[in-house]
Symmetry: C2
Subunit: 693 residues, 2 copies
């Protein structure tokens, strides 16, 4: 059951598609909010919601954020921010995912539907205290109740609408790097994969493909005859996925700039002139993604690339990131000159340093420009967290018109709940740190709770320098995430598999993804269509098991499978908790795996650097393909079944053409039944030849 409470005059975020909970209590009735104590919140004042946590209460949710599956013990800020150093003490990342569930002495869910900054203190200031602070401005609060956490998530997901579904090829392996400077660079990436037999479905094009970082341009010198290059890659079964940035370069003669100026589609300052920020192209204007007309215009621009054969995009820098605000820069230089003219003592020295360091993503800059939102002028900071959402919505709504029958790949860096209907997210500019493998895992359930199913991290790490073992171990988690992309930053060590010595390990591990594809795709689609999660904390399936509730480094992937990746350097195994008896498959490749039935309880399980652990639950089956060098080559007519059948296992495998927007869920299901005696029966869309392994 979901209740709605309205505080002040909230701006509509369109996070919700289902407003059954409307009309909602007016702000004056705030006293009636269950569970939370409310204070403040009058005009121009923050509103504070507090709760006394029970000692064993667990908090799930908050989507893209640092720390554990259990979010207790830190303070998080929903304030989309481009800062690549994702240490434990970061409060905000790129997203604002304001939904969480408290499970313990009491059980309830909270969604703070507020486009401004919101702070979630879950035991930071006070070990047992929860304190949510919503910055001034109205907001809507939803309180959920339910008998079990998973069902509560489903109810929330029903209310926010169906999650975005990408084309099936986007479940293949993608190689990316900021620094592929030309078509030839990309050809080399493809060649290396094809020659060494390492599967690949896509190559991502970071900002280098554009003409001086201008959206909807292609550098004709480095990428001559782009449509032909796209075709050439398609023949190799490779999808090119270009990046689109939020800022539009200020340049006379550049049509996107000129049209935007002419139509008044860019964000403006108080004086009515366009706000100037600095990002990759240098000086830019920001399209007013909250203005319906501007959004429609910007979305149509994607046709520039769609028309050249492109069928996937990633939206970046849409917090929006600001290297600097132009107006502030003059001030900075004035101050620097002052510093230069005085004898620098240590105080002024650090003052100078902090001045320069503080240029980017300045709060004060975000307070100087405005949006036209539903006919009203709204200052940016009031709706900051909606910007990336609406950029991706611009694309998503345009795709529906431009490619009505076809799924287009789209994921974004910044996001807000609601955006999950238009695209996925990747988890931003992480680092080549072992701790970020675990963070990758720990974010997945929270993202799923908030509707983000198509998601994944930069495998191998974006910033800093990777090692071969870290990349391998990270891929061993990545083979389970819908978005499976190796991405890295320009100044770091190159991290395509062929930079390292052990090609066979990479071929085998990435090969496993293509073996698992039938299951991964099917579980993704089921989660999308039924509003369920694909990655679940153990406690969501075993709510009575206290030990399961404490597990922070294992996940259920769908109903049939549990994963427990190794994320520690030099480890040759790890501890695993089994809430019930399961069958372990220790996989070295599609052709080499051993199996073992393990009883419920704690185990130390061996896993060498090239081994992946998959646990199959009782009376469950995981169908696997024979692999392939790309998604298209994965043969669904012959399936190997991982299985742990005690009485009878039924697997409902979903499959479709992988591109149509229209989903006929029932039609796509193949029912595979395996009996204890080993007999297999299949019915439904596919008629695969099945083999127990």
């Amino acid at each position: 059951m979901m209740k709605k409470f309205v505080f002040g005059n909230p701006l509509e975020t369109e996070a919700m598609t289902d407003s059954r909970a409307t009309p909602g209590s007016p702000a004056e009735e705030a006293g009636s909010v269950p569970y939370l104590s409310v204070s403040g919140g009058s005009e121009g004042e923050s509103c504070v919601l507090t709760y006394d946590m029970g000692e064993r209460d667990i908090i799930y949710g908050l989507g893209e954020n640092v720390r554990g599956i259990n979010k207790r013990g830190w303070i998080y800020e929903s304030n989309c921010t481009d800062d690549p150093l994702h240490t434990e003490t970061r409060r905000e990342l790129y997203a604002a995912h304001n939904f969480f569930i408290v499970d313990g002495r009491e059980r309830f869910g909270v969604f703070v539907d507020a486009p401004q900054k919101v702070t979630f203190d879950f035991g930071y200031e006070n070990r047992d205290g929860m304190k949510i602070t919503v910055s001034p401005g109205g907001f809507v609060l939803y309180i959920l109740e339910g008998e079990n956490v998973r069902e509560m998530v489903k109810e929330f997901r029903r209310a926010i609408g169906r999650s975005y579904i990408p084309p099936r090829w986007a479940f293949g392996y993608g190689q990316s790097r900021w620094g592929y400077l030309s078509a030839d660079d990309i050809r080399q990436v493809v060649r290396e994969h094809r020659e060494k037999g390492v599967p690949l479905d896509s190559v991502y094009m970071d900002i280098d493909y554009m003409e001086r970082y201008k959206d909807f341009t292609v550098n004709e010198e480095t990428f001559p005859d782009f449509p032909r290059f796209v075709r050439e890659m398609k023949e190799e079964k490779i999808h090119l996925v270009p990046i689109i940035d939020a800022g539009v370069k200020i340049e006379e003669g550049y049509p996107v700039y000129e049209e935007g100026m002419k139509e008044g589609y860019f964000c403006k300052k108080e004086d009515g002139t366009e706000f100037v920020g600095g990002v990759w192209p240098g000086r830019v204007h920001f399209p007013d993604m909250l203005n319906e007309k501007a959004r429609e215009w910007f979305g149509q621009k994607y046709s520039f690339l769609l028309d050249q054969g492109i069928d996937g995009f990633w939206n970046d820098m849409n917090e929006p990131a600001l290297f600097y605000g132009e107006d502030n820069l003059d001030e900075v230089f004035r101050k620097l000159e002052d510093y230069g003219n005085q004898e620098l003592d240590i105080k002024s020295f650090f003052g100078m340093k902090n001045l320069v360091l503080g240029i980017a993503n300045r709060k004060e800059d975000y307070e100087t420009f405005y949006h036209q939102y539903r006919g009203e002028r709204v200052r940016h900071d009031r709706v900051h967290n909606l910007y990336g959402y609406n950029m991706t919505r611009a694309a998503g709504e345009a795709f529906e018109k431009l490619k009505p029958g076809e799924r287009i790949l789209m994921f974004s860096r910044a996001s807000y709940i609601g955006m999950h209907r238009y695209g996925g997210v990747w988890t931003g500019d992480n680092c080549s740190w072992w701790s970020h493998v675990l963070m990758n895992l720990q974010m997945l359930p929270g993202l799923n709770m908030c509707g983000f199913l198509y998601t994944g991290a930069d495998l191998g790490g974006f910033g800093a320098n990777v090692t071969e073992d870290l990349l391998l171990r990270w891929l061993e988690l990545g083979i389970f995430t819908p978005l499976m992309r190796n991405h890295s930053a320009r100044t770091t060590r190159r991290q395509e598999f062929y930079q390292f010595g052990h090609t066979e390990d990479f071929r085998n591990v990435i090969g496993l993804r293509y073996g698992l594809l039938p299951y991964i795709y099917s579980e993704f689609m089921k989660a999308a269509v039924t509003g369920d999660m694909m990655f679940l904390p153990l406690a969501f399936l075993y709510p009575e098991d206290r030990s399961a509730a404490e597990v922070e480094d294992q996940l259920m992937v769908g109903e049939a499978m549990m994963i427990a990746p190794v994320y520690r350097q030099n480890a040759r195994g790890r501890y695993v908790y089994l809430p019930e008896e399961m069958k372990l498959y220790r996989m070295r490749s599609l052709d080499s795996m051993d199996q073992e039935i393990l009883p419920a309880g704690h185990h130390y399980v061996r896993a060498e650097l090239n081994e992946v652990l998959v646990f199959v639950r009782p009376d469950q089956v995981v169908p696997m393909s024979q692999g392939g060098c790309c998604v298209e080559e994965v043969d669904m007519s012959r399936l190997n079944l991982l299985h742990f059948v005690k009485t009878e296992a039924v697997c409902e495998l979903y499959h479709d053409d992988g591109v149509s927007r229209k989903i006929d869920f029932e039609k796509g299901i193949t029912r595979i039944t395996v009996k204890a005696d080993g007999t297999i029966k299949t019915e439904g869309m596919l008629d695969p030849e099945c083999c127990l392994v």
Copy 2:
């Protein structure tokens, strides 16, 4: 067995006190170096030593560095550096501890005695390759062989001389913070501890106590009548421990500056004028710690504080840290002006930012000044890693003269092997990150191997904001480290125990330290006197146990005890590997603990936030006191014995007056024998009343 190989014309570092291995092979015979292949190394060229690692080889050592007990899988630089962000991908910290042991297919130890930059690639570039790169300049290479790792460490330790021994009170709990601005601030810290019954032995005085950050001054406004304040604190059983920084403020009339100038004791540039750097006091000169006369002069300066009753110090900023080099600063401002005069494109924008960010600790600055070392002029970068070492040696040698009978507390930030004879180290400016609790643990064996026994991390974390649970869990490790200090940076959340709600938890956990003091002190002294380690990887005691070799989050503390701290947020227990049957004491306080005998193997062991796990090995005894509010109050006449006696356990407990420099080891031993039937016999110095618990 230790062999010595001389490459080029090395500078004497005095890391070794025992030169049995001399005279050593001349450089020409480098081909005869066992295990390692040698290339390069001629005049002006780096020397490269390589080795092919076996798949299961483990590398122990390297002292203060990031990553695991097993150092494989990363590249480390010995290049003492002040950079507080200790992420996984940091290559250099504050120390240069160039000793490690390879244990696997072959077993050998390596000590690269080189004061210049040395790089240790242990599987970074190539997963199975080791590559040591010694920057141009001669060096001495020692190769050790032996039957077992622990004995090899002892042999190395014998060669480098006995480790520094602090006064016993320095094993008590210390409270520190950059930001105690006055005597009253410190009085409040002491009062809070005494009133709430939380033990305390020392309060650390960070840079705020000085008069404008000038070494060997006390701010008379904020710390009036300092000798009286020191006495007042001593009456409260509190030792004040002031910081001393490397740089000497340039200020007319400041005697340390004037004397140094007059005598020519500061580091000079090529043109013979003093090098000017910027650190806390603003513009400073650096005393030439490598010049024997300057060192003697600087050491004598500590008498300014010793004479006022101070009996402990910490040496800081002695990498030496450089916020800026003055000559470079002019250049920076010139360039900034240029940037201000042009239209900033994104390239120049980042150029400007990097210019400002790159001001500190610049390689080029370190290349512009010189030392007088053994009669020769030596450029700083050639001996960079000896600077902190010799600053602490300055103090240590002076203390021997100024306080011949008495131990003075001394630890340093920068260090090199050899400095371990003059002081301990703390592990520098860490962060309030859970991952740094584990890093703290993982550094301890490596530090011990390199001679650094008196050591500890900033408990609770120096940078970033702590939470109550993190501080508690960190203290639960800290109660075992010789240096047990809670320290934090000025702009962070305050982290004295009384900033948080659960006073009793802190009282109990810190109280445990005072209970464990007899054992901790005794094991420390034994390790110091016998050249052994106090903290050992499990594999050092169980060399045949393959599982033990993989344990990265447990340590042996002396012979009798194993620790397994919890270092994960929200965890209510952890996995523990027992190489043999042990008795677990789960301690909540000195009065509340339960016990359980666990068989060898893997276990999940419960440990609530206020519980500490101590494992006692078979036929071992750990004597504990009844606690006390300071070290002086710990009563050695009544001991509680943790014990796991199967046949007979003998504990050799060392004790002494805690201040005398002269150690009569045999005299200090009390032999406590516990038989299986519970009878207890004691003989030796103490005659304690013992009680089995």
